[in-house]
């Protein structure tokens, strides 16, 4: 889960990491009120998951409650996209923060690195800019330190980051004291990333986190009940929300072939073969391992509610998932839903024969079967294009 800046900062504050004083506002009025509370000069910042919000007008420095009101109103009007121009997102909140003088901006991040299986910390005096660009043009300005999670961050790691990252002498003490706190936050929050860009040295000599990109490991939700609350603030579209309620992993896409499969790999592969067959997927929906009849039935319901969907491709290769239960779910869904798009089902693996027989024994005008994945893809695409199959 990618946290909004204000959420990340709230968490960091609990670990005694200095962040600017600020208030979250959901309306221009609240933004103006927050500014009155915080004093004259504040920054109004869009709270969106996509990067590059600054270039899109999502960060505004203002000097009065009236200006803050106007800035927030403008920000609420922007549709943000990522650097590749995708992923339209509106800012539902703004973070209003007290602004102050900055002497220097640094870069600091911790991630759980899959290649080394260790934590990796990066620090650089070249903060406030694209760190990948810095890495290309001036790699010596970046200190990279791996930290074995069995040992945790030792003092020497912090020194290697601060001295190796060429942090100014005035900021050293503050940076050395923040690093162990950031690491503790990383571990105790089960974060897969905490990126502070920039970490700043303020006019009065303090070191603080001016921004925060925190990513949490969803698998660790069982030991962090607060994950649920944080998640509630993240808007998803109606279909994704419904899928989530049913415990399904759905991503909405732009095509017209509804996809249901088991296992992320097989679903991705299904998207690929639908594309190769000349079609385009309406969604990514992984029912996961061991899906029950109920899960299948719910999945079909959610997908058929999307008016863009012209055909559905159910691609199941049973392992933990049992094809007889999949068939049961399909039959159940067809009985209770008014399905008016063709469904192409391809079953293989655990109890596949039983499942195929169950489908054959419960004929339905919209229900088609296929023997192979490629054949099923072609059939589903042809049906979406209105071609009989």
């Amino acid at each position: 889960m990618d946290l909004f800046e204000y959420q990340g900062k709230e968490l960091l504050r609990k670990f005694e990491i200095p962040v600017p004083e600020g208030r979250v506002a959901s309306t221009p009025e609240e933004a103006s009120e927050a500014t009155r509370f915080l004093g004259s000069r504040v920054v109004v910042k869009a709270q969106v998951a996509v990067g590059g919000r600054g270039k899109q007008g999502g960060v505004k420095l203002v000097s009065s409650p009236e200006e803050a009101h106007e800035a927030a109103a403008q920000i609420f009007d922007i549709t943000f996209t990522d650097q590749e121009g995708r992923g339209a997102e509106r800012s539902k909140r703004v973070l209003v923060e007290r602004a102050g003088e900055l002497k220097a901006e640094y870069y600091c991040s911790f991630i759980l690195d899959r290649t080394s299986r260790k934590h990796l910390a990066i620090m650089s005096s070249e903060g406030g800019m694209d760190i990948e660009e810095v890495n290309r043009t001036n790699p010596d300005a970046i200190a990279k330190v791996t930290i074995d999670p069995l040992l945790g961050l030792s003092d020497f790691h912090a020194r290697e980051l601060v001295f190796g990252g060429n942090i100014d002498e005035e900021a050293r003490k503050g940076a050395l004291s923040i690093l162990p706190k950031l690491y503790r936050a990383l571990v105790e929050l089960d974060a897969s990333q905490i990126e502070i860009n920039p970490l700043v040295l303020t006019g009065d000599g303090k070191v603080m986190a001016l921004d925060a990109k925190v990513i949490l490991d969803d698998s660790a939700a069982f030991r962090h009940p607060f994950y649920e609350e944080l998640k509630a603030a993240h808007e998803v579209n109606e279909q994704e929300r419904k899928a989530k309620e049913h415990g399904l992993n759905l991503i909405k896409l732009d095509g017209d072939v509804g996809i249901i499969g088991n296992g992320a790999g097989l679903v991705m592969s299904t998207l690929d073969v639908v594309k190769d067959a000349g079609g385009s997927a309406a969604n990514f929906l992984d029912v996961g391992g061991g899906a029950s009849a109920e899960v299948l039935s719910n999945s079909l319901q959610i997908i058929t509610e999307n008016p863009e969907v012209k055909s559905i491709f159910i691609n199941i290769f049973g392992g933990i998932t049992r094809c007889d239960l999949v068939a049961e779910g399909i039959i159940h869904a067809l009985a209770r839903l008014d399905v008016d798009v063709p469904i192409v089902v391809r079953l293989d693996g655990t109890n596949a024969e039983q499942g195929r027989k169950m489908l054959a024994d419960a004929p339905h005008p919209m229900l088609k079967t296929a023997d192979t994945m490629l054949g099923a893809a072609e059939k589903a695409v042809a049906l979406a294009h209105g071609e009989g199959a």
Partner: protein, 293 residues
Amino acid sequence: MAILIDDSTKLVVQGLTGSEGSFHAGRNRDYGTQLVAGVTPGKGGTDHNGTPIFHTVEEAVRETGANTSMVFVPARFAADAILESYESGIKTIVAITEHVPALDMARVVGYIRARSDDVSLIGPNCPGVISPGKANVGIIPGEICSPGPVGLVSRSGTLVYQIVHELTQLGIGQSTCVGIGGDPVPGSDFIDVLSKFEADPETELVVLVGEIGGDAEERAAAWAKQNMSKPIVAYFAGREAPPGKRMGHAGAIVSGSKGTWQAKADAFEAAGFPVAKNPTQVAEIVAGLRSKA
């Protein structure tokens, strides 16, 4: 031969008395795997469908000579279960459980790898391992597999089934199929399994199934170029997947890879290995290579 599991495998299942554990372990036993023990704390001394249950893995190993374990416990107990197997002397640990926190795995995998060269952890979040005709540990349906010369290693579970199925359709059997799981910190990566296939006389050719994201495939290609004498046919799911949220900048700085389909395909082609466009084509390329050999 085969790798990881075979006729000599003696399996203990952690979580045997749970419903999923019971179902799949039963299928593994029916396949011919020597299922010697189950472990459920508090149920030691009982019997589950003919298999003796122990309180601890240590006791199961001592009493039954188990050398392989399958972890079927809920995610919050998985790291503990893996360590229990490791500290009890188990040499092949197959963790099926999904949604294990990445930090747990970083600690466990780091711990085991620093200490032992002769212990293999497969998974978590994986479908397990099958050496057709010899042993099956996990949830791969045994009936779709057949013995033969192809080693298969995959990050994706259901794609193991799909590609085995495609191979079988063309009459090509497998030495061992290994699902390493798609988690950020897997117990074994492609390179670990490739090196075992390279050393296995029964394996003539390897199919490698990856996914977009991370740089495990790119590293495997670089390693294989230097170390593999056997051909590899690669396939990566997700060519047409919507670009998800990018990995953090920090991740890209470390791995130097964007983890895209193209980056992976380029890496394998540069290393001299063919890349298939879909699971069906994987089997076709394998068949072509075999007819040439």
